[in-house]
Symmetry: C2
Subunit: 184 residues, 2 copies
Amino acid sequence: MKKHIGNALALYPTPLVVVGAMVDGKPNWLLVGHVGIIGHDHVMVSLASAHYTNKGIKASKKLSINIVDEALLPRADRSGCVSGGKEDKSTLFDYVLDDAGVPMIQQAPVTMVCSVEDVYNTKGFESFICTIDATYAEESVLNETGKIDYRALKPVLFEMPTYEYLCTGDVIGKCMSIGKEPQK
Amino acid sequence: MKKHIGNALALYPTPLVVVGAMVDGKPNWLLVGHVGIIGHDHVMVSLASAHYTNKGIKASKKLSINIVDEALLPRADRSGCVSGGKEDKSTLFDYVLDDAGVPMIQQAPVTMVCSVEDVYNTKGFESFICTIDATYAEESVLNETGKIDYRALKPVLFEMPTYEYLCTGDVIGKCMSIGKEPQK
């Protein structure tokens, strides 16, 4: 018998990311924990409308999504503690610009460069729905077939209720395989 | 120096859920790994348009999101292996109906009952954007302040690239705290 706990948002943990975008000609970085996957080809990052970063995203229609691992976590968390409007965050990470001028964090093990296709508005928030232009990954997080090995990547995960970071754990089993075995 | 790996969707792992809905008067269940959080008050589940479940969701504008833990995983995975159009999945889980007639999985440690506010369409997919009517959780996954303790809940996580399930690991640190320490 479960207990009624109001209408708590319980869809955690989510992969923690740092969103990068050019704002007024400088790279800016923002920590984001509210993300999503739409279909098999779109990703979403949900940002409070007041964030300094949003202006740059809306002007350029481009952003980078940088996956955070444990090594990157202290600086990633820092990017969420201060606003780019108050402090220049351009030097918080070493970065490179892609051909379209999108800033990507060099220390991030995986970065997706995205084009903003749509902005979904809810009260106080702008959720950027994006297609993926290009994905870059360190060789050390790729398996022998060139796909990302999440056991090696171990993305840092976020949950809002107690505001903690969790690590990605071990593999439990293969998708669409466990269910084909006889059920107890 | 990272390697270009095409435009791979790398925003994993995500919490694995079973979406429940009434379809033609019977509960139906569908495994979903592509989910999202919009703002602080909306959740999204992204389903291929061809799924049998979508019809029921669009008729009732209600669904349940059942968080999957390791104990629930075999049956949850099973719900993704067969279509409700071909096999009656109503008996796959023990369930209860809430006041609005939304089916909830009894064995799920956490269930959110949701109202569909909008359907976001992309090619071949319907993403249901929902508000949360009520959340139910087993006492065993709540901390002393009544919030969900993800270390106790340990949701099963999903990643698409190698199609594996991962477990939620240990706590690394506190959000918006690590970054306030002096940076190396």
